[in-house]
């Protein structure tokens, strides 16, 4: 399971945890998150920024 960081605000997306409160179950790979998802902390769209794998 990988983790990714939002380049705008530093929010960490951990594939093992997902983002269930926004409809992304635990275990969801970054590539499988829909383009309509946005960073829960800063609102940047998934389509706009490469989250950086860390």
């Amino acid at each position: 399971m990988k983790t990714y960081q939002c380049v705008v605000c530093g929010f960490i997306y951990d594939e093992a945890i997902g983002d269930p409160e926004h409809g992304i179950p635990a275990g969801t790979a970054w590539a499988d998150i829909p383009d309509s998802w946005s960073c829960p902390d800063c609102g940047v769209a998934k389509a706009d920024f490469e989250m950086v794998e860390i």
Binding site: V7, C9, G10, E21, D41
Partner: protein, 384 residues
Amino acid sequence: MNPIVIIGGGLAGYTVARELRKLDKSVPLTMLMADDGAFYSKPMLSNGLAQNKTAASLILSSAEKMASQLLTEIRPHTRVKAMDAAAHRLELEGPEGSTSLEYGRLVLALGADPIRLPIAGDGVDAVLSVNDHADYGVFREALEGKQQVAILGAGLIGCEFANDLAGAGHEVTVYDLAPQPLGRLLPTGAGQFMANALAAKGIAWRFGQSASQVQKDGPCLRLTTVNGQSESFDLILSAVGLKPRIALAQAAGLKTNRGIVVDRCLRTGDPDIFALGDCAEVEGLLLPFVLPLMASARALAATLSGTDTPVSYPAMPVVVKTPACPAVVSPPPMGTAGEWQETVTSSGVRALFEGQEGELLGFALLGDAVGEKQALTAKLPAWL
């Protein structure tokens, strides 16, 4: 066709350009900025040390790359001296000297200036503010080999920088007239919890104190407070607040208050001039944070591409990036009637602001309570 001109190359300016290009690939777009136009994220400046970033590595994209990605003419190192709204013309000062530029529509994404306290002494000019990428470079260079750092201001940015510097091994002292950190965001129990958590990382607090003088003292800076106490530091950082850049709008006859006054479509009194981000006051709301900026940029892009789209502001909690004390806050709008109910444990604080009918109007979550952010946010009323 005269272009849409965006003044400002910060997060607001670049985001509205990007969002507009998703909707309209052909409208001519020009961006002007006083700096070099490199795209960076200001929220990342206050935890750059913890993230192992340098000033250079904080740049996400050069101006040239943005220009080609966004099919936009980008003109860095260019200042707008004057705006003639009736003539739709800007007077510019830039690498080519003094020029004029006519716009079809204008977007003001000017940001805000750091407030500087009225401090006397020959060391005042050495007190740094970090409000943009260039400032950050100066700050990091000045920080090399330095140990004792003073921060003026225990607000959001002051606390984030304090944590970042302390985490990197510097000795940090924070001055603020308030009796607690984040005085405008946190109720007293939460403020105390935050103060304790940062103190445990070695941060020294000087609450109820304010700098009145800064004097050069060899290689150091001697800070003297209003009540006469002095301490020496290697570096002093001022983070006492922001003042929206309204001068250009004022001079052009646009309505300004704390910020440039715009309606929910981000439009000023002039139908062809818009404003967003840290410089804008949207229906009385001045929200210098990223979530409102993103919402504004999306709405404005839709308006600029032909469909007037009022911005909606759902509750947008602010994340405080202090790793020593994770915190997320959705403050009640200023002047709202109600009370804070705080539950403080050894590992966190759950503070709820309730209105007269017991309805939730705000919250502050610290430490292990931050997990409740989503559930509480869902109960909050929209701001706009």
